[in-house]
Symmetry: C2
Subunit: 320 residues, 2 copies
């Protein structure tokens, strides 16, 4: 008797979260991408990345957001591609992007210069100073290869509503390739929202005094995703806490509730050097040593390596 609950999530999505106008178009694009790569023998991962914007007004001046630079999603995308996956990258507009993420900490104009020996004035070549960006040639080459082979399909979202509808569309688009699809749900999704019907149209006036906000709980979309939209897929959720003492318990409870394959559990302060991959049967700690950090190893390389092996086992079991 699961149907009423599930159709109620579908109903809620349609009623309380504005449907982006391009959702059908994006869905077709994702379905074509998935079947193209599956036919070429590749697995396909949908990565979600970045935080969701939750508007407080329909002509939005203010919004609630979740802390997330998108670093984990963007770097994971690169490692999945290196492992032979095709990647749908469903990310927050202007969050970190695969390959381009190397520009995050610099001002691009500080990395450019006029070519020595060029014609003076405004006509010369502008070149990258490879002292400032020592990896640029390697990264650009890789970026161009990936673009050439069409291994990366970027899709953007801004608001929570866009995220939810696009994730549903992605799940339906990927359902056609069964267990070859992985969902790597690394986005930092809001747990709370204000329904469209309860949202003021105009900017909330501060002259009205202190702000009382009453926010509803976002429906747990993982439930219909696992049960209905993409029931054969390999599904990974992420759990970020600030309090380490409740983390593993919450990860286990999520697996019990949603019956998906794994939770990547991490704590805000240590997330770049330590995660636990929790499955119903196992619990793997992935840790970067000081040596790793010195060698610029990224923890996403370990996470992706762990999960691609598990995905292979999962596919074998489905077939057997």
């Amino acid at each position: 008797m699961a149907e009423p609950r599930i159709s109620s999530i579908d109903g809620k999505l349609a009623e309380e979260f504005a449907v982006p106008s391009h959702v059908e178009e994006v869905k077709e694009k994702m379905a074509a991408f998935a079947s193209f790569h599956a036919e070429a023998g590749r697995k396909v991962v949908l990565i979600t990345s970045g935080g969701t914007k939750v508007p407080l007004e329909s002509r939005t001046v203010r919004f609630l957001d979740n802390f997330s630079s998108g670093r984990r999603g963007a770097s994971s995308a690169e490692y999945f591609i290196d492992s032979g996956y095709a990647v749908i990258f469903l990310h927050r507009h202007r969050s970190l992007y695969p390959y381009t993420r190397m520009f995050l900490t610099i001002n691009m104009l500080d990395a450019l210069e006029f070519q020595a020996g060029g014609v003076p004035g405004n006509t010369g070549e502008v070149v990258v100073n490879q002292q400032v960006l020592p990896n640029i040639a390697k990264v650009l080459k890789r970026y161009e290869e990936v673009k050439e082979s069409r291994l990366l399909l970027p899709i953007e979202f801004n608001t929570l509503s866009e995220y939810l509808h696009l994730l549903k569309a992605a799940a339906q688009a990927l359902s056609t390739i069964g267990s070859k699809a992985m969902f790597y749900l690394a986005a930092a999704v809001s747990d709370f929202y204000i329904p469209a019907s309860e949202m003021p149209e105009h900017k909330i006036q501060s002259s009205n005094g202190p702000l009382q906000l009453s926010m509803k709980m976002v429906p747990k979309i993982l439930s219909p995703l696992v049960k209905d939209w993409a029931p054969q897929a390999f599904v990974i959720s992420f759990k970020l806490e600030t309090d380490a003492s409740i983390l593993l318990d919450k990860a286990r409870r999520a697996l019990d509730t949603y019956r998906h394959q794994a939770v990547v559990a991490n704590v805000l302060d240590s997330r770049r050097g330590y995660v636990v991959v929790v499955t119903p049967e196992t619990q793997a700690e992935l840790i970067l040593t000081e040596e790793d950090v010195k060698n610029e190893v990224e923890i996403e390389e370990r996470i992706v390596s762990n999960l691609t092996s598990a995905h292979d086992n999962f596919i074998t079991q489905q077939v057997a």
Copy 2:
């Protein structure tokens, strides 16, 4: 008898908004910058730009934010520099930045290529494709000139607390140059916050049910800024509304309340093509025509032109 109220804003700032550890250092830097340029005969403008982040938890996962790309502040900075001003650019981390703002809409890697005729492999020069970024040479040249002449001092903030304390420090730093200082307060500052003492330490748990947020009103910092911290300066505030019908009334009320020199009033939907500069005696509509838009004229050029003239008159009157 204004003192108790003002010292109460100072007290509130110290008590309820965490003081950034580098505030004194930044203040000295700003004071040195201001006196250097004032001695060289330049006026100095402090531009604030971008939205403020209002944390909901002290180990922050969630925050309230204000919509603002920082475009107005970043482009205005360029026009102020072109008008002979030195600029302190107090901006939200990763919001748009003068000159660099041209990279906003492109993926930088799409604008780079290996130099034709270079050595194959990873060792060649990487150049900017000037078909993709036609203005790059001009912009880079101007950026380098401005850097060379040290006309731009960038200071970053993330949270509302950082913004408030750094603005106070800036006002005190600029008070030494009297009427030669302009404040151009274009940042989108939150009207609401949660005091440090009422903030939960850890991530709010969605298992506790719907979220009830009770947010206090941010103290109106324009009041001590105009009255106490920089009483001789030329001060411009910004008013953004979504409802055009209340805009001018709110602008006039702000001038009555804070007794500063001008309000730049604008409506969310039309803000890039239409603003009204409101002063106690005048009201100037600045409008971009279709012709202007075709010629890529930016409204900030008009705003800055209007205000630099008004600032000159203001300085003359002070001296007379």
